[in-house]
């Protein structure tokens, strides 16, 4: 009967509105749920989610050693040519020539933080850092060399 359907419709409509009102009243009265970050004021205490991706950095240990073999897997994985690896040949003590990186050039201004280079790296030499205040006055400052001066590859990383 249509009159029953009509009444049922009115009541189910009112019920769904009440559900919405209850949820918003909960948020209205529970201020601990507020997610606003008062950014420049709380710069020292900012906490980021684990998966926040700010820029690519190369991991160096205390002996100024990194794990990059210069395999260029990251350069090939990069969709917009953000990474350029310049290689050189080191002479090992046995007199053999061995490929190593000279410069790991990273163009921050082209990077979209897609994380593909970090996934592609076989030796976990690079990772995403959680820095984010990247504004500079000179564009050239955005082109970075990621391996530190005089750093060398860690023993045993192939």
């Amino acid at each position: 009967m249509f009159i029953l359907k009509y009444i049922k419709e009115v009541f189910s409509g009112l019920k769904s509105l009440a559900v919405g009102l209850r949820r918003t009243l909960y948020y209205f009265s529970h201020h601990k749920e507020i997610i606003t970050q008062q950014y420049p004021d709380n710069r020292d205490t900012l906490v980021f989610p684990d998966r926040f991706k700010g820029e690519v950095v190369m991991v160096h240990d205390d002996n100024n050693e990194h794990a990059c073999t210069g395999c260029t897997a990251c350069e090939l994985a990069c969709p917009n040519a953000t990474i350029k690896i310049i290689t050189k040949f080191d002479i090992t003590p046995e007199g053999k020539k061995k490929k190593a990186i000279d410069k790991f050039v990273y163009h921050l201004e082209l990077c979209t933080m897609c994380n593909l280079c970090v996934v592609a790296c076989p030796t976990d030499a690079i990772k995403m850092a959680q820095t984010f205040e990247h504004s500079v006055f000179n564009r050239a400052e955005l082109t970075k060399v990621l391996n530190k001066p005089d750093s060398k590859i860690r023993e045993g990383v192939e």
């Binding site: 919405g20 009102l21 918003t24 009243l25 948020y27 209205f28 749920e33 507020i34 997610i35 606003t36």
Partner: protein
Amino acid sequence: MVIAGIAVITLFALLGLVLVLMERRVAAWIQIRLGPNRVGPGGMLQSLADTLKLLVKEGMTPDGADKFLFNLAPFIAMMVAMLLMAPIAFASDFQLWNLNIGVLYVTAISSLMVISILMAGWASNNKYSLMGAMRSGAQIVSYELSAGLSIMSIVVLSGSLNLNEIILSQADGWWIFKGHIPVVIAFIIFIIAVTAETNRAPFDLAEAESELTAGFHTEYSGMKFALFFLAEYINVFIVCAIGATLFLGGWMPFHIGHWQAFNHVMDFIPSSIWFFGKTFFLIFLIMWFRWTFPRLRIDQLLDLEWKYLLPISMFNVLLITLMAILGWHF
């Protein structure tokens, strides 16, 4: 009398500031944000700063507009809002104009609001403005019916059109308690209808930020825009004040039957606090609706009125009339 008039006009300006701030705070808290918190202590001076900004902005008149009507429209909106302030009883002995047809006066004058909106939309010479104005016309004309019928139910119960007498008839209990479920239904219909009449979300088709930019006030800037903005908030205050007067007893304190001690304690709270407390509760209710419900399409809006609110409120008025005749209320 002059002092009272000046006090009401001051209240007018003050209400605009308070309600804008309240709206922004309520919106922020409902959306898990902080809201304005930089200007003054706790963001209290935010709306004052906004007013200052609007005052120094240029009030542009577009080339193709009908200049006279374009500049007249915001003042009509303002005047309608001011006229509506006259018969409202703010406290037990403070009413600017105690006329014997107060309810009729309020419903008649509040429908003049649509003239200023249509005028603004037409004179702007802009398709979006005209569309917003036309929608607003359709909306106000249809929702006035159910608002009128739910107001009628209280008139039937109290037997008077005089706002002061309606308040006095609630001395032994507010109508929403005395009138059982039919009055609760009338109250719900009244709140829905006045939300639509004041063009607030979820019925904000006249403004419709997403599809009509800003509807009828697209072309307005500076203080002329501010007048529309102020008139909207004053209208919200007025319909909530009328709702509080009719259903929640106006300035009448909360009394429970024969609990003498409790009733005496309630009488100690000043009547103006009772009135503003009830009014602001209703304003909060309308703001709460705005930030909870999704917006309606124009056909859904008219469906809601003609298929649901109007039949229900017609049936409801009959029921309440029967109740009043047979004396079923307390």
